[in-house]
Amino acid sequence: MRALLGIFIVALLSCSSCTDPSKKLDEKEFDLTGMLSNVGDNIIVPSYQNFKSTVDILSDAANTFNNNPTMPNLLSVRVAFKNAYINWQKCDVFEFGPAMDNALRANFNVYPCDTSKITTNVSSGSINIDVLSNSDAKGFPTIDFLLYGDNQSDAYILLTFTKNTYAANKKQYLLALISAIKTKTDATVNAWGTYISTFKTSLGYSVGSSVGLLVNAMNSYDERYLRDGKVGIPAGIRSLGVALPRQTEAFYGKFSTELLNTSLQSFQNLYLGKYGSTNGLGLDDHLVAYDGAAIDENLRNYLADAVTACNTLSDPLSQHIINNQASVEAVYSKLQKVIIPLKVDMPSKLGILISYQDNDGD
């Protein structure tokens, strides 16, 4: 036993010469609580609060329109809708905790919506938007279709709310969808009121820790909903090579690119811990503190490149895809580059388990 201990000590001492001495006895130190407070207090909670106020405005506008369906009122519902949809982009990524409990993503933003189902729902007059079969006949994409129609004139859309056979039903449908969004938004904002302290104190890096939840949520969002949902699938890159321009987000309102840009920029800010013009503690700082400056540099550059590339796209994105698919593919490849350091290098460096599923390891 004693001999072994001796060997051990000798080995330990001798090995100090084999590696970079500056890396010996170094201390990995990072203010994790500080980062979580910054992300929670300055990014997540304000994002939800802003979103909530836009939803409130949308709800008011819809009520006004319901009582008085005029063209100016229709246009103000559209403005409020667009504003709420844009602000949703800043919250979508936080699908854990309260958002997960309220299943926000599945309730708010399943697209493309099923237009024939929506038409049937309108003519039947009684819909239950909580049933699973209506998951693609509710939320923002369905409101988008109700408010804009498929390339129809504003005057015609107004008629569908006033004079057409099912005008009353359609108004009811619109109201029901918006009030469902409001209910779930309010519930989520309320829940964050208490969850914020859990979020800030759930330290560590395990699957259920706040960093674990955040990084896993960022990964699945970036991969599936940002890269694939907003660009890859409609452009055909992630859908058997067949362009599906009608599967763009906000296809009927024609502001897909605006949504994409908002989403990507807020994603970039989240990574940097940035809010307004203040750059607080974020994952970028964490990487630097954990010997991952090179990964951080890649991520920052790739994110910036992707933002620049997305800015070259124009609305309507569906038209852009049809006319200039190659440029959309170029944007896609920039988004693709972000995934590798985000999903492979960063979690490995920080010791975060990437798995949206729980299991034992070796």
Partner: protein, 444 residues
Amino acid sequence: MNKFLAYIQKPAHIAPLAMFRVLFGGMMFFSILRFASKGWIYDLYIKPSYFFTYMGFSWVKPLGEFGMHVVFIALALSFLFVMLGYFYRIASVSAFLLFTYVELIDKSNYLNHYYFISIVSFLMCFLPAHRYFSFDVWRKPSLKVSHVPFWMTAVIKLQLGMVYFFAGVAKINHDWLFNAMPLRLWLPPRQDMPIIGSLFTYSWVAYFFSWFGCIYDLTIPFFLCFKKTRTWAYVFVILFHVLTGMLFYIGMFPYIMIVSTLVFFNADFHLKIISSFNKLFRINSIEIYLPLEGKHSILRNFLLLFFSIQIVLPFRYAAYSGKLFWHEEGYRFSWRVMLMEKGGYAIFKVKDKDSGRSWEVRNYDFLTPVQEKMMSTQPDMILQFAHFLAEKYHKSGMPHVEIKVECYVTLNGSPSRLLINPEVDLTKVNESFKKRDWVLPFEE
């Protein structure tokens, strides 16, 4: 040789073996319940639409929702009956077969721990562990024996010792010893652990753990064998496994090892525990020797072969050039436990040669997160998935697709780089035991 044979034939008390049966069966019974309670039967064996089978075992298929639940109920009961020693012969065989069946369904779930369970369950099928301190003896007293040939308990010790020793041998590599990798990546994130957590931010702690782990694995089987060192060794066993159990997501394994290693203690120790159940099991001090039968020598020779294979298997990697942790040819079934931090991302690029269309695959449409994660770092699984995709496209009317993969992998904190040659059409590659020339070398 005769001297050796005489030595291993020497009668030894059965108590350690019987106790091992109780503990092992009990822990496994509990493990299966835990597995089910976590919803993993559904997540791992019902939900996936595709399963990564082992070479030569592609015929192993899951049995659907009802079937898999029946399998797990039968599996839990088998281990319970092993523990009780009730209809042990049937229970031990069914525990081995069912457990191994479940493990063969999908290599995404491969763990050295599960391999260990399969092997021990296999050994238990042949050992008369039910002939003492069991319901079988209570049911049929004539089964009772007090002594069995020494080798019958020794094989369990040998098996346990091999797990440790080979795990230690695997740790003798540059990354582990001289870079403290991957512990230098794994320890700092656990700094919230009570008491010692704050130490994990220092890299010397990672070096200490690496060296300690290596020396522990290499020496603990021997320290457990000698009476003089046994008690202290066992204290280390408990410390080591409790610590690793707290640090890493390794489920029941630490606890299974803690109770299993009790088999190294001598018969008196086990008899003391057993004596508290004295009356129920009619334990008395009468010595009854297991009758020596001709089939024992067949069994003994078979086990010699069995262990020889196990000794050779971990070294098969030597047949493949390049960095083992990177290409993983000859990695499994070798007790390489917690040796590397590896993460990857695989982008499958498909081209339909008939229509000229090309696209990327949404892996998550076909694979669960765990499957995708495991596949993204393991070349054989990447190839399997590519073949699965090719077949799928073929069936949907695209007989001439070309599938290439751009797969980025990080190993022990290295910057991510390509694992597979992105120019190779994987539909043209066949899986074999030959060196995989479509896997790119790891450039240091």
